[in-house]
């Protein structure tokens, strides 16, 4: 039985196709201004990889910022539920999920049965979101993907005094003008990001195991600092951390379809 999950975020859209509980394919595309178009594009790509067609999908669950605007879904779930569900599948012992997306950051605590018991989101400003890293990478003239690994190359890592994106930019420019090595500044950027996320994670309460989802989980610099700050090992997931929400959505689709059918 083919089901799908589609996660339309502010920066990227993700889709996962399952056959029963086995993942057949996934796809990630950059979101356009029209959530419906992004959803269609990412689904087409995922279906293409799996060699399937839209009408073979029995049930589809939508999630993400643009979930209400996806034309082909049967039901929608919040990103919180989907990230929790996806992480739980990949790592049954997970109790805390930290998800950092392009526009917000979430910390989710699960109980033994996998139910969400508490969550907090930071959506006040860009600090502590993927956007912060995006802005900083651009300022440093490095690729967003490189920013994380640059931390490891730092000789004398700096620390940024400001956590506010606007003020931190001024500081980064100041360091650039002083010819500080890029890696040392990058380390500071990753550390500032981790500091902001740690506050959020602690306010939800850290239970082990901890895992991280969302695009920023690929940034090893942030991940390492966060482990240090929270004094806990953050487990790496087996798949692209960006698609965990879509994976969760696909599992909800599977459950919903079984419920309807059965």
């Amino acid at each position: 039985m083919i089901v799908a999950g589609c996660d339309v975020g502010s920066l990227t859209s993700k889709a996962v196709i399952l056959n029963d509980k086995t993942m057949l394919s996934h796809a990630v595309v950059r979101s356009s201004f029209r959530p419906g178009d992004s959803a269609r594009a990412v689904m087409d790509q995922a279906l293409d990889v799996a060699g399937l067609k839209m009408d073979e999908v029995r049930y589809c669950v939508g999630t993400g910022y643009g979930r209400e605007k996806i034309p082909f879904v049967n039901k929608v779930y919040s990103e919180i539920a989907c990230h929790a569900r996806g992480a739980r599948h990949l790592m049954p012992s997970v109790r805390t999920v930290i998800d950092i997306g392009g526009q917000d950051c979430k910390a989710i605590r699960l109980d033994d049965s996998g139910a969400v018991v508490k969550f907090v989101t930071n959506d006040k400003c860009a600090a502590g979101t993927g956007r912060f890293l995006d802005v900083m990478a651009r300022l440093l003239g490095v690729n967003l993907d490189e920013l994380g690994s640059l931390s490891a190359q730092a000789q004398a890592p700096l620390s940024l005094a400001s956590t506010c994106t606007v003020w931190a930019q001024a500081e980064v420019i100041h360091h650039l003008n002083e010819n500080t090595p890029i890696a040392d500044i990058a380390a500071a950027v990753n550390q500032a990001m981790a500091g902001r996320v740690a506050i959020l994670a602690r306010s939800v309460g850290i239970d082990r195991e901890v895992c991280m989802t969302g695009g920023v989980a690929k940034n090893t610099g942030v991940l390492t600092y966060l482990e240090k700050l929270l004094d806990v090992k953050i487990r790496r997931l087996r798949i692209d951390p960006q698609i965990v929400g879509a994976l969760g959505a696909a599992f909800y689709a599977w459950r919903e379809y079984r419920r309807c059918a059965g």
Partner: protein, 377 residues
Amino acid sequence: MMEEMREAARALYHPLVRKWKEAGKTVIGYPCTFVPEEIIHAAGMLPYRMRGIGTTSLSIGDTYFGPVICSLPKCMLQLAGEHAYGFLDGVIITNGCDSMRRLNECWRKAGEDIPGILPGYFHYFGVPHKAASYSYEWYEEEIRELIKSLEEHFGVKVTEKALRKSIRLYNESRRLLQKLDDLRSGTEARMTGEDALTVILAGSAMPREEYTALLKTLLKDLKKALPIDKGRKRLMLVGSSNDDPEFVRLIEDSGALVVADSLCFGSRSYEDLTNEEGDPVASLSRRYLNQCRCPRMFGCYQDRLSLILDKAEKARVDGVILQNIRFCDLHGSENGIFERDLEARGIPCMRMEREYGPLVETGRIRMRIDAFLERIA
């Protein structure tokens, strides 16, 4: 009749205020539940609770206030600066909280730059933060000074007889609102939270006599109405000012029903009644200062917790949304302890910090409400 209520809740200068003004009568604005409306009413004027709705920019608000100030008084100043409050003959500012009390200076100074935005009557009303015997006396004196200044400025007389009549009228309408609460939070809820807020808002901006009559009709109709709570999660909304029915609708559209609240524009304005016997000024002082529902009254956390617990039990709520406007430390941090203490008693909570003003971030708010409802499903 709901349409009349909606009209009064939707716009600042709505038809009923217009009618009042066209009859040559006076309107007095005030920003906080700690100002005794009865006094203004007994002076033959319309007490009008100011709001910050419909702003499209904060260009004026941000000129005078600094960046780390609550957006509610900023929006009020913006509206004043745009002459939207031109219909107010007078304004009473109170130290409800620090952001609000600085509206006094910011409005006056903006008035020096933009002619015609400062009402001729502009009064500061100081409210204590505790309810001790001498605080009641202070508040009584504050009322007497308010009466004196209204009388002098507008050439009116606030008689004891008129004051007693106003107290009775306000008590009557507050009792009706309490009955409305019963219909809203009872086993079979008959009204949405969105409509309930609309009704309360209308009351804060229309002549009380007409409002009371409308309430009576509304209650009669509601008793016959069909229950609407089937399959919906019952929520309580707690925290700082919300005068936006659309925010409540956003919550209810996700499949919930806001069956109770403890909000500034909300049940806080009618849950306490005034003693109709004895000296009316002393009774009003007790009515207004003895309400510990706002965290501006320091050191009364346990009382507020009990009130919320009672209400949660009575309204059989499935969860509580603890919201506050950014920079409101009073509600924001108390929400932190509420969360701890309510969750410990098995009542799921969600905290939310937001900006006052046009609802723009609906996507994110919706996502969190959905996640909360999924959590308590």
